[in-house]
């Protein structure tokens, strides 16, 4: 299961980014949000957010055992992370970032869903590769 943003409903207000950064780091700072909305041109919207892959590239890339394949989501143990940067490069969805000196990714806490004014975010239980 993972967070999925519907680009047809999303209005690019970035409320989810503010909520996410506050819930995770207690700061209003979109650059440490774990969901990132982007606008490529006039009409193309999209979001970078962890897809919780069943065979995750980030888990394969991690050499320190910080990233592990959990039952439903990919688990991250920040204590083990040394910020080597391999997972940032490995993720095909650009959905794992350095936040406050270590890697951080979406853990499906659902705060963004609660606060989205346009109900554009939902939980999707399909694996992106399948």
């Amino acid at each position: 299961m993972h967070i999925e943003v519907d680009p047809n409903k999303c209005v690019y207000c970035k409320t989810c980014e503010m909520v996410c950064s506050y819930v995770k780091t207690k700061e209003f700072k979109p650059s440490s949000s774990l969901i990132r909305i982007f606008r490529e041109d006039v009409s193309n919207l999209g979001a970078h957010v962890c897809k919780q892959c069943k065979e995750a590239e980030c888990v394969k890339a991690c050499r320190y055992g910080a990233l592990k394949q959990g039952e439903k989501i990919v688990m991250l143990d920040r204590k083990k992370c040394v910020n080597c940067g391999r997972c940032y490069v490995a993720c095909p969805y650009h959905a794992i970032w350095e936040v406050n000196g270590k890697a951080m990714k979406c853990d499906v806490c659902l705060a963004c869903i609660k606060y989205c004014p346009r109900f554009a975010i939902k939980v999707d239980s399909n694996d992106p590769k399948s």
Partner: protein, 570 residues
């Protein structure tokens, strides 16, 4: 922090905001005018973020642009929403102060603490959207860009600054000022948090505020965007038509917000805003996809030019946006040209109301300063003077009013005349004062001057705190005071906020006085004081000069200005 950039020497300085700034001037509008007042001789271009920008408060995302207006010669200020002001806050700068004129095209690149002036020859000559595409490709899709199109490069006097593919600082020609400085764009990205005094309590209020912002008060904007009000304005005799000769348009049903739904593709909002009044539309005829058109664009390039084809309006809006010119001024200039053509003053058979192709051609000519466009590109006053037609030109201080016919709206008429930046609808929204009445009181002048003053102060608070005026039915002054107390940690009352707003307005006026303002500059166009409207339900209405003088006196008295001159102490 204040970022000071000198484009001549290339010097970049960062300084702390003076201690009393936040308390006295709030942000946005307040910061912009006080900096301009202090440094007027340097002819600067100032970007200021609203006081609440970057907090999670719904609709707080305004950016103000300030300078001496190339169009009016008085105070130039214009606001745009979107994601730029908030990004300024995330980069840590409340004010960006730019002075001097560069010799070669440059852009300002701000990546958090790293600030540099870089060569922009690569994008010089590109339109505003392509410039934005270029920088997003080059620096990543998360940068925010404010740029000028070719109109700004060509120093068209009413060029605008474009941000986010369709958010414009349109009025008073701030894009021309950027063009004069050879500053093609500002590219910004921030990576710092915005701290308030009560993060947790603010966060706890968000769902409640969001609910308010999604309530009945904003329904019109959410569903139809700004054109939602067009039908009502047409029915109540306030829709400017055929260069302001009429106040209702017989084909108005073709250009309403309801009609725009047929072209609608997607909603777009600004930072932290649940309203999402931005409507992406597309026209198959011209194969364009764009944001808007807004109500003001529809009146200026539609009814005011006698045009009822929505495809043409969408295309005209797209051309104005990409070239970077103000749609209101452009529409009014074209409407004037059409009227002069019909009256035989300009010898051109194509200049007739309703000629959409000619309108599109003229927009291109204005942006590139060719043909008739070369005469129009300096603004409405030089253009009208050339053809000895100043009496047909609808303008105050060289700028044209927003789309509400002042002949049937006395408070609005007063507000455009006394407005510091020229005829304008956004500094007081005074049309609302008149249109609140459905009876004869709408046309009465009693008590209107006082209401205009109150309304101006209220709108100044929106511009200073960074909130959007479309949420005016959400935020009353009490709620603003409550939120501002939470943000700053210092208790402030609604009354105190209003007093601060009045002081900010005094500084704006003082800037105009420094720039050579005379009492005769606060006057109405001839068309408002001498042309009775021809159509129902406002037949025969116009503003009598005598009535206007009474209102003006009352207004100055309400502000405490002797002969229109305030006493300013910083």
């Amino acid at each position: 922090m204040i970022l000071r950039v000198d484009l001549v020497s290339g010097k970049i300085e960062k300084g702390e905001l003076p201690k009393d700034y936040r308390e006295k001037y709030l942000g946005g509008n307040g910061y912009g005018v006080v900096e301009l007042y202090k440094h007027l001789k340097e002819d600067p271009l100032i970007f200021a973020a609203g006081g609440m920008d970057g907090t999670i408060i719904p609709t707080a995302n305004i950016t103000g642009v300030f300078g001496i207006s190339p169009l009016t010669g008085f105070l130039g200020e214009s606001y745009f929403k979107g994601h730029f002001g908030t990004e300024m806050m995330f980069a840590g700068y409340e004010i960006i102060f730019i002075k001097g004129e560069s010799k070669r095209p440059v852009f300002l690149h701000i990546d958090g603490d790293n600030v540099s002036i870089e060569d922009a020859r690569e994008v010089w000559g590109k339109d505003a959207w392509k410039t934005e595409d270029h920088f997003k490709y080059r620096f990543g899709e998360r940068v925010e860009v404010a740029s000028i199109g070719i109109a700004g490069e060509n120093k068209v006097k009413f060029a605008c600054i474009t941000h986010g593919y369709g958010r414009q600082a349109g009025r008073t020609g701030m894009g021309c000022l950027m063009g004069q400085k050879k500053l093609k764009a500002i590219v910004i990205r921030g990576n710092k948090p915005v701290k308030t005094a009560n993060d947790e309590r603010l966060f706890g209020k968000i769902l409640e505020l969001d609910k308010l912002a999604e309530g009945e008060g904003t329904e019109k904007y959410r569903v139809y965007g700004t054109p939602g009000g067009l039908k009502h304005l047409n029915e109540s005799g306030a829709l400017p038509t055929r260069n302001w000769q009429q106040a209702s348009f017989e084909k108005a049903e073709n250009i309403t917000g309801e009609e725009m739904k047929h072209y609608w593709k997607h909603d777009i909002s600004c930072f932290s805003c649940p309203i999402a009044c931005g409507k992406l539309t597309s026209s198959r005829k011209y194969r364009v996809k764009e944001e808007g058109p807004e109500y003001e664009t529809i009146y200026a390039l539609g009814s005011n030019c006698g045009i009822d084809d929505f495809n043409t309006i969408i295309e005209a809006n797209e051309l104005c946006d990409t070239f970077g010119i103000d749609t209101i001024t452009t529409g009014n200039l074209i409407a004037l040209a059409f009227e002069l053509g019909e009256k035989g003053i300009i010898k051109d058979k194509e200049l007739v109301f309703g000629n959409g192709d000619k309108e599109l051609g003229l927009i291109k000519q204005i942006a590139s300063r060719t043909g008739l466009g070369a005469e129009m590109a300096d603004g409405i006053v030089p253009f009208a003077k050339k053809y000895k037609a100043l009496k047909y030109a609808m303008q105050v201080k060289g700028m044209e009013p927003g789309g509400f016919h002042p002949n049937s709206l006395p408070a609005y008429a007063l507000s455009i005349a006394i407005d510091v930046r020229g005829a304008d609808h956004q500094r007081a929204g005074a049309y609302g004062i008149d249109l609140a009445f459905c009876d004869e009181q709408r046309f009465s002048i009693k008590g209107k001057a006082r209401q205009v003053k109150e309304s101006e102060d209220y709108y100044t608070l929106f511009d200073s705190l960074g909130l959007c005026k479309f949420a005016r039915k959400v935020y009353n002054v009490d709620l603003m005071a409550e939120l501002w107390s939470l943000v700053t940690g210092k208790k402030v009352s609604a009354k105190e906020l209003k007093e601060k707003a009045a002081k900010i307005y005094d500084i704006e006026k003082a800037i105009n006085i420094k720039l050579g303002w005379k009492e005769s500059d606060d006057s109405l166009p001839e068309r408002v004081t001498s042309m009775p409207l021809p159509d129902d339900p406002v037949k025969g209405r116009y503003i009598k000069q005598k009535d206007f003088e009474i209102m003006k006196k009352e207004y100055y008295a309400a502000r405490g200005w002797a002969k229109g001159v305030p006493k300013v102490k910083l």
